[in-house]
Amino acid sequence: MIIRTKNLTKAYQMGAEEVKALKGVDLEIQKGDYVAIMGPSGSGKSTLMNLIGCLDTPSSGEYWLNDRAVNTMTEDELARVRNEEVGFVFQSFHLLPRYTALENVQLPLVYSNTDREQRLERAKQALEAVDLADRMGHRPNQLSGGQRQRVAIARALINRPSILLADEPTGNLDTATGQEILALFDRLHQSGNTIILVTHESDVAVHARRAIHLRDGKIERDQINEKTIAAS
């Protein structure tokens, strides 16, 4: 079991009002699973993603990531978990514009104190794995949207995380390029990675084995995509 949450809640103070973004979420995700988290805006899916990604701490409830209780961790410990256990892929790529693809991919290794030579070696491998061996020296503005997202995926995977957490990874891409990225996710899933995909598009979610629908801060539906499993 890679992710286990128990009665997870999150409340924000918005002015005088308290907004309950999550109202008790119980969730279990197996190692090697491919899960889509779906829901309309305001359903709490971003909040859940932030909690799963250890960018935020819950107001109450418990969360174990890879059998470690995350909800009691300090800020430094959370940073370490983000570094080692979570690989983030964002809608808007979030590459550093002044850095080359090779340098961008190395970023997580900088914070895990990996030595320079090993960093370079692993960054090259990671870029080769996403078919960007010929774009290593390019800066983000010299790359297409799909290529940028592939650099971001290489960066997310470089520290061999327990989960790959993708937030609307195709949201800024055209349909064809989006399909390429989803095909890459399929490939990564087949090679054993655990993927959590946050999206509001059902044709993106169909790539996942399992879809969790959120509404008003609670899990509304949690279903297995029989067709997807049958198709593979």
């Binding site: 960018l55 935020d56 430094d76 940073a79 370490r80 983000r82 080692e84 979030h94 970023l107 520290n159």
Partner: protein, 412 residues
Amino acid sequence: MNFWETFGLVFHSFRTNKLRAFLTLLGVIIGVTTVITVVSIVRGMNRYVISTITQAGSNTFRIDRFGIITSRDDWLEAIRRKDLTTDDLEAVRESCGLCSEVGGFSIVPSFINETFVTVSAGRESIEDPRVFGVTANYVEIANREITNGRNLTESEVQHAAPSAVIGYEIARNLFPNLDPVGKTLSINGRHFRIVGALKKYGTIFGENQDTVIGIPVTAFQKVFGRREPVFIMVKVDDGARMNEAQDQARVVLRGRHHRRTGDDDGFTIMTTDNLIQLWRSFSAGAFAAMIGIASIALVVGGIVIMNIMLVSVVERTSEIGLRKAMGARPRDIRRQFLLESVILAATGGMIGVLLGAAAAKLVSMLSPMPSSLEAGPVMMGLFLASSVGLVSGMWPAIKAAKLDPIVALRTE
């Protein structure tokens, strides 16, 4: 994020926005330039001045009406005083037992010098000569050396003989490539026979030492009148009894000028120690002014750097969010921005050191003031600049480290 990566980052932003980088660093550059320039010049001058002042020997003193004038009050006081005369000189020579040599000189006041003194030999003439009426022992007391010929004799001084000792430049200009000894020159139409030539001394405190002409003080009074003031020079062989010797001379002169108990002297005794002290208080003033200018510039520079770092934190909010998502701890972010701020300010410091060294060099090339660039002030300048960077980077760095990664990631 290690040092060199941060370094590269800072220089990259320099290259892309040169004007902004320059304006950011202006305060630090001015501050450090001031420190380096002033310290170099003052240190260079310290050596120069002290070696110059002590050149005449530390066991001589000078008595004159003016002393050292550093204010309007000093000046008003000095012009009320009576001039010292050759009779005063003789009295000190007679009655001051501890004074081994008593001599003196008169000069034409410099403000009338140019109009009234003409020196020529044949068709050659000299601009801006400085004619001294001296006693025979003047050359010895002033520690000057005669390279050619001889000094004036006691008898020449007693009889107002038309003899002269001339400076290096006078000799070279009036008698190019010739031995001046034995030749004659004319001062305001009177002829003087040259008996000796002085060694080359160059310019000291802005006065050319090589355009001097020494004639017997008695002859000087014949040419320029008896009213010109006399400066008395005293040499004391027993250095330990300098103060006693000065007191003896003081008593003699006070008696001659009818000063009563409680009156001031009406003249000033100057020793090399006085001069060195005067110089030290002057250079301390220059140091204080420098510290004032430099600290204002550095404070302003620090505020500007803080401002630009705050802008940089806002501009790079999304980068900070990303770094946090990738596993940067608050202290990693803090260190990155602090390092950036220090490197920024230290770069300003380095530019300041270079400009300061250049300015000091320029001053010493264009004026007789020497300068000396030493490791100490350079280190101090770089240290000051880095400290400014550290202090002014503190708040922006803390602000960056505290950013909520979720909010930061949402910012584009």
